[in-house]
């Protein structure tokens, strides 16, 4: 996996320089969490384009196959990815990917997680357990994340501290109460993630 080579400094990492194109640099952040927690809603509220969707037949995406024999029987098995885009500057674009919610599609996440700046794990206050697996996923892989508690109809019955305790989150992981439908609220969750990354980077540099 690309990100784990901690000794190597970055400069030579880009395999094929294509400097002559005016293509912007691209980075991504993942929006994860349980099924129906509001991932696509969050992507849509901050994206400059209506969320786009790609659907992948699982046979092609996940299995190592050389031919298509039998694919007809599996054609209904697809995994959908919703994503959006934020143009940061003329030469830098941020993509937001809503990860598939169903646990059985998680092999897709490894691919998705490679090269991500970090992740937002959305939690539904009515069923926080549906996001436990997403938290585990990012913790195990050392991928930085913040938790966004998406209120039902914008209501937040529990304070962030209580949710942090219920999720057994380490201190450096921020917990934010949010409303995924609101652009500014979703934006603030993303900013919190970036701030957390900056804090970690400057903290690491100072020590």
């Amino acid at each position: 996996m690309a990100g784990s080579d901690r000794a190597a400094p970055a400069p030579t990492a880009s395999p094929r320089p294509t400097a002559r194109s005016a293509a912007p640099d691209a980075v991504k952040i993942l929006i994860a969490g349980g099924f129906g927690v509001g991932k696509t809603t969050m992507v849509g509220s901050v994206s400059e384009i209506a969320p786009l969707r790609t659907e992948e037949p699982l046979t092609a995406a996940g299995l190592d196959i050389d031919d298509l024999a039998g694919i007809e029987e599996k054609r209904a098995t697809t995994v959908a990815l919703d994503f959006g885009r934020i143009t940061i500057t003329r030469d830098l674009v941020l993509y937001l990917f809503g990860t598939p919610g169903q646990q059985r599609f998680w092999f897709m996440w490894n691919d998705l997680a490679i090269g991500a700046l970090g992740a937002v794990v959305l939690v539904d206050v009515r069923r926080p357990e549906s996001s436990f697996a997403a938290i585990d996923f990012f913790e195990r892989r050392g991928i930085p994340f913040v938790v966004g508690v998406n209120g039902f109809h914008g209501r937040h019955p529990y304070p962030a501290a209580e949710i942090r305790e219920a999720l057994a989150l380490p201190d450096h992981v921020q917990v934010l109460l949010c409303d995924a439908r609101e652009r500014t609220s979703s934006r603030d969750v993303l900013i919190a993630l970036i701030d957390q990354l900056i804090d970690a980077a400057t903290g690491a540099a100072a020590s």
């Binding site: 912007p24 992948e56 031919d67 298509l68 694919i71 054609r75 885009r85 940061i88």
Partner: protein, 119 residues
């Protein structure tokens, strides 16, 4: 979520790739940015319809995931078609910004933060 009518469409796209299920180049990611070369090489064979659709889409730089979504084709199919276009010198592909979690790029993070702040 999708209705049942979507099923057939997701298999048939591989007919667009001549039955190939793998790209000749393995280095496309979802956020690899592709851009049509301008001018296009004129010596080359005329591109097939799906290739032409891609070329129109990436007249300006566009991410692989976006090409797939706008063509309503699986990414796995689109990267095969994109490989063809790279090999025909019709598009260039720019890999995503390398992210090394162990050595974060502070300048990049600050740029992203500033950009989000302007939203």
């Amino acid at each position: 979520m999708t209705g049942g009518d979507a099923g057939g469409r997701l298999v048939r796209p591989f007919t667009l790739t001549g039955g190939r299920t793998r790209p000749s180049r393995a280095d496309f990611t979802l956020i690899t940015t592709v851009t049509a070369c301008d001018p296009q090489p004129d010596r080359a064979a005329r591109p097939q319809p799906e290739h032409l659709r891609i070329l129109r889409l990436c007249a300006r730089p566009v991410a692989v995931a976006e090409v797939a979504a706008r063509l309503d084709l699986p990414v796995s199919v689109v990267v095969i078609l994109l490989s063809d276009l790279v090999e025909a010198d019709r598009i260039t592909a720019r890999p995503p910004h390398p992210v090394n979690l162990a050595t974060p790029d502070l300048d990049l993070l600050q740029k992203v933060r500033d950009g989000l702040g302007r939203l």
